[in-house]
Symmetry: C2
């Protein structure tokens, strides 16, 4: 799946610098990272690694989208996070434990993998790298805490309202081709049927309009109200 890249390291370094996580790193550090980064490519639905596997790489996304999911025995899924270009995942590798979730590509995706051992070496030399990783981890903790809050304390409708508010850009949520209702359901911790019902409720209440590739927010205030309740 993955293989050493021999493409110009300058290009790789420039690409890495595009990732927010690495944007502030010094040029020599970026070059060092580019030297050890290994490129890998995945197609839609392809599994990067399964929960419980021990993958020794930290991954940076060159382009494409992936999801990190927990899968129950019955097949039901809960997505923990979506990862887009420039984001980093498999931070569990930093704790020396097996991966805790399954990561699946949603579309054609290119990654750079950085082996754990090399990462530790670099961190010892460049404290700024450790800093960057710490920030990344801390924000992940916050995201997960919010997810827990949602699941434990809010109704499906409220969760949906919050998701819409969060994703809306100029009153619109553009849907990637892979963003089916089933995908949304796994993000919200429910099943497609229930999600659909919640959507219809919002539609008939005149709060949103669902179009082909896009959900349009009509009544921002109404949506915010529903995001609070329960």
């Amino acid at each position: 799946m993955s293989h050493p890249t021999s493409s110009s390291q300058k290009q790789v370094a420039a690409a890495l610098a595009a990732a927010p996580l690495f944007a502030d790193l010094s040029p020599p550090l970026l070059t060092a990272l580019a030297t050890i980064a290994v490129r890998a490519h995945y197609g839609p639905q392809q599994v990067v690694f399964l929960a419980g596997a021990s993958d020794e790489h930290l991954y940076v996304i060159a382009h494409g989208w992936l999801k990190s999911v927990k899968i129950a025995a019955g097949g039901r899924e809960q997505t923990l996070a979506l990862f887009g270009p420039g984001e980093v995942f498999n931070l569990a590798v930093l704790a020396d434990v097996p991966t805790q979730a399954t990561v699946i590509a949603l579309e054609p995706t290119t990654l750079w993998g950085i082996p754990r051992a090399r990462l530790h070496e670099l961190m010892a030399i460049h404290p700024e790298l450790a800093q960057a990783l710490i920030r990344s981890l801390a924000t992940r903790v916050i995201r997960l805490s919010d997810l827990v809050e949602d699941l434990a304390l809010r109704s499906v409708e409220a969760r949906l309202a919050r998701l819409l508010l969060q994703r809306a850009v100029g009153g619109e949520i553009l849907r990637q081709p892979w963003a089916t209702q089933a995908e949304f359901a796994t993000q919200l911790g429910t099943v497609p049927d229930v999600l659909n019902r919640a959507l219809q409720t919002l539609v008939t209440a005149g709060i949103i309009v669902v179009e082909r590739q896009c959900i349009r927010v009509i009544d921002q205030a109404g949506l915010e109200l529903r995001a609070q309740i329960t």
Copy 2:
């Protein structure tokens, strides 16, 4: 609440070294930490900080137990984590964002607070400190991921069974005085009534026995079975 301590820094350093997070740090680093650590004390039910506040300290627990909770408008709580002696919390401070959860002491508790600015200075000098924090953060991510999995994919009964299995030592779960059923309920993401029903189900099934300060596991296999389902 908190005030500079003038007690022997050697003592403080020794106490810090007792925390698993800091156990492997070099003596000079421990001394440096001890110099800047500020002691604070909290009583039962006392709030260390509220969600949304900006507390600029990383805390290490000298002794006592605390909980980190999200509180809904209606008053319902979800605990994100319990923290005991030697553990570290308020890692959000590392991401430069306001605290995301409320932290409350469960019993008389002593903390050392380390100001954010000082922490960053020390991290720049001592990469091992950054390493330790990274490990700590990574395990927190894993814990939270498991909590999400529980909430989204498992029934209350299964969650309870898992909690019991996890806490059991030699087939017994000792209950701290503050570990009321209401507390357990907030850890499991439900309400006391429902938790109680789940407990009774396990009792009548002959899987556990509930005594005064202690829950005893009778049928380990049965409990493990119930921990899987749904």
